[in-house]
Every structure is written in C-alpha cells, then in structure tokens.
Amino acid sequence: MLFLLYSLLIFMIVGAVIAIETRDLLSSVICVGAMGLGLAIIFLLLGAPDLAIVQVVVEVLSLVLLLRVVLMREDVTIAHRYRYGEVFATATALLFFGVFIMLASTAYKQMPQFGNPILKVSQDYISNGFAKARAPNLVTAVLLDFRAYDTLGEATVIFTAIIGSLVILRKRGRIRDEGNEPDS
C-alpha cells in the first residue's frame, strides 16, 4: 500500500510539472484534471471515502469552469519571448526550493511519524462518538454535531464567495450609447 501511495504522489508531481510548463492551455487543464483524480485515489487509500466522493465531483466542476475560460477564443496562448529576467527567476526559484526542502525536513522530524498520529482530541470523538451522537458515520457526527460552529462558518464563506463572483459578473452599468442597453 505504501508503494501505491508513493507512485501516486510521483504521478501527481509529474502531472503538475506538465501542467505548468506546457504551452497548450487545453493540455494544461487536462493535466490538472488527472492530478485531481489521482488525489481522489490517494484519499481512498488513506481511509477517507467521504473525501474521495467530494474530490471527484468538485474536480469535474472545476474542469468545466476552467474550460469555459480556455475555450473562449482560439488564441488565448501568448507569444513566448525570452527575457533575461526569466532565467534569473527560474534559478532563484530552484534555489528557494532547495532551501525550503532542507528546512522542512528538519521540521518534519519533529512531527509524529507518518502513520502514528497523536489523536489527542480525536480519541474522545472515536470512543464516545457513537454513544453521544448515535450516528454511525463519525465524520458527519464530528462535522455537524461536535463541530457544528465550524460548519456554520464554512457555509457563510461559501455564500460570500458565490455572492462575490455574482457581483463581478453583473452587467448593469452606465448606458454607453443608444443601442446598448444594460442586461441584468
């Protein structure tokens, strides 16, 4: 199982590199879709079927939204001009990656080892969750009974994000000239 986890993570890294570096925008969007499906399989391996369901469906909707932008015109790729700053930017980025990975591995040694979580707060939820909330699905019991305040906050955040995007796409405005009526 660990071998499968590592190979899926490397598949995600390769997909990310292809999605960033390729010049055709359609291939890039499809690579992001493949990354998302790989992530859903990783969630299944890590014992989270709830997350796998949500990830697959949200991935499909994100692909539809991105394709709406990419396929608006035929020529959304831009010309590639080499500038001197670009080589410098890439070299600085690689240097920063190296420094970050070195410092991060020092920090990860302090964390509990992969596979043995501390479970300080969740031990109470796992042992008494079914007795207190009488729901067999412990994830839903935690989400809607023990931590319902957080769910109220998250519902508000989704509401605000959608209202924000509706405001951006509003077409009401000044009437520019006679033939141009503002549609709602």
Binding site: D50, P136, V139, A141, L144, D145
Partner: protein, 143 residues
C-alpha cells in the same frame, strides 16, 4: 449559449433523473454511509449543470429560474441557522435537541439529517447559480 446535438440531448433526458436521485440519496443517508450534505449538494448541482450544458441556458432556466435558485440558496442557509437557534429550546446553541431514534435507521441521530438537507439545498443552489451566470455572460463581440 447554444445547446448540443440530438444524441447528447436524448441521453441527458434519460440520465439527469438518475443523477438527481443519486445526489438526493447521498444527502439523505449522510449519517449512515459516507457522503453528507456537501457531497450530495455538489452532485445535485452537477445534474442541473448537465441540463444547462445540453439544452443551453434557456432550456435549463425554464426548469429552475435564477430567482428561484437564489431563493433556495437563502432558504438553505437560513434553515441551517434556524436549526442551530432551535437548540436553545434544549439548553444551548446547536444542541442536538430532536430525539434520537434507533441507530442505523434513516430517521435517527437527531438534527443530523435535517442539517444535511439544509446544507445540501444551500450548496446545490449556490453552485447552479454561479454556473448559470458564468454561462450566460457574453463578451461583447463573442459569436
């Protein structure tokens, strides 16, 4: 926004009902099997977005109009908040006040089922609304 060809429209007419029923199943059985309000809500939105893609914006807006989707959005959010406030009847905010029936039945676990339904309605209405507005947006000289 135009619709798609005849094959796509026929298959959509057959499949959209199944997708909506499956989404409703995941919302309602959220406290027994993996799923819940968020997963089922996104699935219900997917079923309706399939209708928008296949029949064009006008075909789908006859089924659920923009004002209706906006109203359902607010109803879902207010219903969730109402369930929280009604917990005051038992003691404190968000108390699980409905009586808990037998476990592993459909109607059990107190307010969990009603909260799942409220969140499912809210997420579905939200995502359908934003997609219809994005699909209807016309750039000024777009064909």
């Amino acid at each position: 926004m135009k619709g798609m060809s005849l094959i796509v429209r026929t298959i959509t007419r057959l499949l959209a009902g199944f997708i909506l029923v499956y989404g409703a199943h995941i919302v309602l059985y959220g406290h027994l099997t993996p799923g819940g309000g968020f997963a089922g809500g996104v699935m219900l939105a997917c079923g309706l977005i399939l209708l928008v893609l296949a029949f064009g914006k006008d075909g789908a807006l006859e089924i659920v109009s923009e004002n209706a989707a906006s109203a359902w959005d607010c109803i879902g959010a207010l219903a969730f908040w109402l369930i929280a406030v009604l917990g005051f009847t038992g003691g404190y905010f968000f108390l699980n006040f409905v009586g808990k029936g037998e476990p592993f039945n459909l109607i059990s676990a107190g307010t969990l089922m009603w909260s799942n339904i409220a969140i499912g309605i809210k997420v579905w209405a939200c995502l359908f609304l934003v997609f219809v507005v994005l699909a209807a947006f016309r750039i000024r000289d777009e064909g």
